[in-house]
Symmetry: C2
Subunit: 128 residues, 2 copies
DNA sequence: CTGTCACTTCAAGTGCACTTGAGGTCAAGT
DNA sequence: ACTTGACCTCAAGTGCACTTGAAGTGACAG
């Protein structure tokens, strides 16, 4: 088996992130790629996992710094669990919002009202 | 009953949006406040509803221009329903993502692993 | 008459998350 | 030996969504 270290291009395709984004994340302290082969960054499989997590959190609306904070303080510093719980709650609220919008949209698709924004049912869904 | 037109400050408190954001939305064509009392914008109740919808869509991750497009083409132009359906699908994907992150976080809160990011269960939830 | 207050315009500034471009390095293939 | 390709750094640029600041307006209270 080879040395199990990937270069940035491979990591990019595995994670769906652009190489420039990976460098940016490194600069922001989200990932460490200490290992280098000459100039080239080498990423471990663990880093790929970490990056997938980061990508997921980004899609979920977390800011880069926010993710950095939660990933850094590895120790169970008093606040960490609280902050994670708070983030989960925030997500619940966001999810609820999105589900309402989604249901509103699905209604709009088959709604007769013109424009759909004035449909009472549509409004009711949004203010759910 | 008074003339039922609200000024920007009232609309701001009703919608939770900053006055500057309301002016920005107007500039972007999301809302019309044609009516003016002197210099001052007067918003109708309908506009307040529309703004609430916009705020909701923004929280759901839609771009301002995207919202403008969906709200503008009031006519059932061939594409509208399709685009709304596509947006709903996109939301479903985003929601799924967020639910995974949320569940991961909730697990992390009561997880023994240090750091939680290396917990297999945590990983399983995220890739679930 | 004079504040004060909530609004107005317009241009410029902010913060985030990257992206792009110029110029350079390095290993491998022809 | 030379080119190609994938990488590198660093500074500057981009796009979005607002926010801020300066200078002004108009109505109303004291």
């Amino acid at each position: 088996m080879r040395d199990d270290l990937l270069d940035i291009g491979e990591v990019a395709t595995l994670t769906g992130l652009a190489p420039s984004a990976l460098r940016y994340y490194e600069e922001q302290g989200l990932v460490a790629s200490e290992a280098r082969h000459g100039l080239r960054r080498r990423f471990s499989r663990e880093m790929v996992d970490r990056l997938r997590l980061i990508a997921c959190a980004r899609r979920a609306g977390f800011a880069v710094k926010e993710i950095a904070r939660s990933l850094d303080m590895g120790l169970d510093s008093a606040g960490l669990r609280d902050r994670l719980a708070a983030k989960a709650d925030r997500l619940d609220a966001d999810i609820a919002d999105m589900m309402r919008v989604r249901d509103g949209l699905r209604h709009a698709v088959k709604c007769e009202h013109e424009p759909f924004t004035s449909c009472p049912e549509f409004k009711a869904i949004l203010n759910g």
